[in-house]
Subunit: 186 residues, 4 copies
Amino acid sequence: MRIKDENKQQRIKEAMVSLILREGIDGTSVAKIAKEAGVSPATIYVYYDSKEEMLAEVFREYSSAPYRYLMQRVTPDMEPAALIETIVRGCYSFSREHEEIFSFVEQCSRCPNLSEYVSEEECSCDILDLIHGYQERGALRPYSDWNMGAVLFAPVRFLAMNRCEESPGEEQLSELIRMLQRLLLY
Amino acid sequence: MRIKDENKQQRIKEAMVSLILREGIDGTSVAKIAKEAGVSPATIYVYYDSKEEMLAEVFREYSSAPYRYLMQRVTPDMEPAALIETIVRGCYSFSREHEEIFSFVEQCSRCPNLSEYVSEEECSCDILDLIHGYQERGALRPYSDWNMGAVLFAPVRFLAMNRCEESPGEEQLSELIRMLQRLLLY
Amino acid sequence: MRIKDENKQQRIKEAMVSLILREGIDGTSVAKIAKEAGVSPATIYVYYDSKEEMLAEVFREYSSAPYRYLMQRVTPDMEPAALIETIVRGCYSFSREHEEIFSFVEQCSRCPNLSEYVSEEECSCDILDLIHGYQERGALRPYSDWNMGAVLFAPVRFLAMNRCEESPGEEQLSELIRMLQRLLLY
Amino acid sequence: MRIKDENKQQRIKEAMVSLILREGIDGTSVAKIAKEAGVSPATIYVYYDSKEEMLAEVFREYSSAPYRYLMQRVTPDMEPAALIETIVRGCYSFSREHEEIFSFVEQCSRCPNLSEYVSEEECSCDILDLIHGYQERGALRPYSDWNMGAVLFAPVRFLAMNRCEESPGEEQLSELIRMLQRLLLY
DNA sequence: CATGAATGAGAATTCATTCAT
DNA sequence: GATGAATGAATTCTCATTCAT
C-alpha cells in the first residue's frame, strides 16, 4: 500500500490557511483547497472527516502558534522591560511573518462554531507561567492573568489587524511598548 | 406603508445579525435570513443588491454602533478617571446588551473581504475627538490615536470575547479600569 | 410570482418511477430524475425535502394504486367467482398497464428504509371490506384478512414478476383463478 | 491459508448481506462492507471484480438458499399433507432464522439489474421435482409448476414480509397450511 | 413593493475502484 | 493475498440570484 504522505497533509493545511487569508472562511471551499494543494478533493477526506473538523483541528493546532513563537524569543532571565518589548514585538512580527496563520486564527476565534474548540488561556499558559515568575519576584505588577493577557496581546494585535499606510508601524509599536512598560513595571 | 418598509428592512437586518451570532457568517444563507425575518428571499433583493453588499452595508452601519453607544454615555466635562471607566464599562456592557451586533462586527472586521469596507478609525473618530480635548488640556497623556484606541478598546473586547464561568467579569473589569487609569492619567 | 406547476411535480414523479423501473432504486439519482423530467435538480428540492422523502412520499401515494385500480373494477354485487377472477386479472393487468408503478412499489416495499412508511393492510382495506361482505353472507370462505390478502395478491404478483417467454401468461392466469375459486368458494 | 481466505470471503458476504438488511441495497457501499467485514476495501476486489458482480454472485448463491433449506426438511415419502406443512413452515422459519438472507434475496429479486441473473424456476427445481413425484402418483393435484410455486411460496413470504405485532404468526400460518392442503390435496 | 417558484453553479461529501507496497 | 492511500466521477443538496406575477 501507499504510505500516508505527511507532506500531503501539510500542503492541505497550508492551502487552507492561505486561502482563508485571501478569501475568508466562507470564501474557502474544499474544492479550492484541494486545487491549491494539488490533490483531489476526496484526498482531503482521507485526512479529515469533514470540513468543519478540518478547520477545528488546524485551528487547534495553530491557535497556540503565536505563543510558541513568543516562547522561543523570551527567556526567564530577561530584564522585565525587555520581556515586555519582546512580547509586543514578537506578537507583531509573528503577524507579519505568518500573516496567513495570524489571519486564520483571528477569523476562527471569532467564529461561534469554532471558537469553542480552543481556549485562549490554554494557549497562553506557558507565557503566563513565565510572567508569574516575574510577578512573584516583584519585577512585574501583580495583575490577574486575564488582564495581563488582555493588555499584552490585544492592543498589539489590534495594531496588526488595522495596520495600513497611515499607520507608521514602528513608531506606534515603540510607543505601545513604552506604555506597557510604564503600566506593568514598578 | 413607509413604516412597513422600514420595519421589513429592520427585520432583515436583525435576522441576519442574529443568525450570524448563532451560526457564523458562513453558516448564514440568504434563505435562512429570509425565513428568520419572515419574508421571501426575493424581498431581500428589494433592499440590497447582493448578499455581499448587504453584509457590507450592515457592517458599515453597525461598526460604529459601539462608539455611538459610548458617545451617549460620555460627556466632555467628566472627570478623566470617570471617562476611562465609562468607556471601558460601556464597551463591556455594549457587548452584553448587544451580543449579536458585537459578535457580528467582530466577525466582519476579521473577514478579509469585508474589513476593507470599514475603518476602525473612522468609527471611533468622535470618541477620539473627545479624547483629544482631554489630552489638549493635559487631562490625559498624549499618546497617539492608534494606541489610545488600542488600549481603550482592544483589552475590554478581549475580555468580552473570552468571558466564561471562570472569568469573574466585574472584578476583571474594575482591575482593567484601574490599570488604564494609571496608564493614561497623570 | 410564478405559480407552482403541478404538472412539473407530476413529471418529476413519473421520471422517478420510470427510471426506477429501468435502473433500480440505487441506479436512480436525483440528477437523472431531473434530466428525465426536464427540470433542474434544484427544482426537485422545491417539491421534496430530500431524495428519501421523495421516495417515501411517492411510495405512499402509489402503494395503494393497484388497490384503487381494483376497486374500480369490482362491485359488491358481482358473483363471488367473478369477484375472484376480477381481482386476479386486475392485479395482473395492472402490472402490465402500469409496469413502472408496479415495479416501483415492489422495490420500495422490499427496501427496509422505505417499507415502514407504508403498510399493506391499510392499502388493501377497501377491497378487504368488500370481501368481508361476501364472507358475511357466506359467499366466500371466512379466512382471515391476512390470508385472504396473501392468496389473492401474492401469487398473481409472483407470476407478474417472473413472467417470461416460457410462461404462457393467459393459461397460468386462468389456472390460478380456478385454483383460488376452488379454494375460496363453497 | 486456505481457511483464512475462505473465512475472509465469507465475512465479506455476511457483512454485505447484513448491511443490506439494515440499510437496503442503495445504502450499502463497498467501504461500509469492508469496514463491517474488517477488511480493506481493496481486499474485496481480490474476490470480486466489481460491486455489481459481487451482488450478482452472492445473489446467485443465496437465491437458492431457501430451497436448499427446504430440501433438508422434506422427504419423498412424507404424507402429502405433511409435505405442504413442511414447505410452508420451512419457508417461514427460513425467513426468521436467516432474516438477512431472506431480505437480501427479496430485494435483489425485485431489482431490475439483478433479477435477470437468477431465475426462480431454476432455484426451485429440486423441490418441484419432488412435487412432480407426488403429482404423478396422484397425491397432489396436477397444477402447473408456475402455479404450484406461486401458491406454495408467495403467500407465506408475503406473511413473512408483512409480519408485525398484530399478525399473530402461528395462527395465520396454520390457517394458511390448511388452505393449501385443501387446495392441493384430493 | 412583495413574492414563491425556479435555477445554474457550486457546495460538501461519498462512491467504486486502482495503485504501490 | 492483502492493504491503506489516493482519486475522478458522481452523489445529494444548498446557494445566491432571477423571474413572472
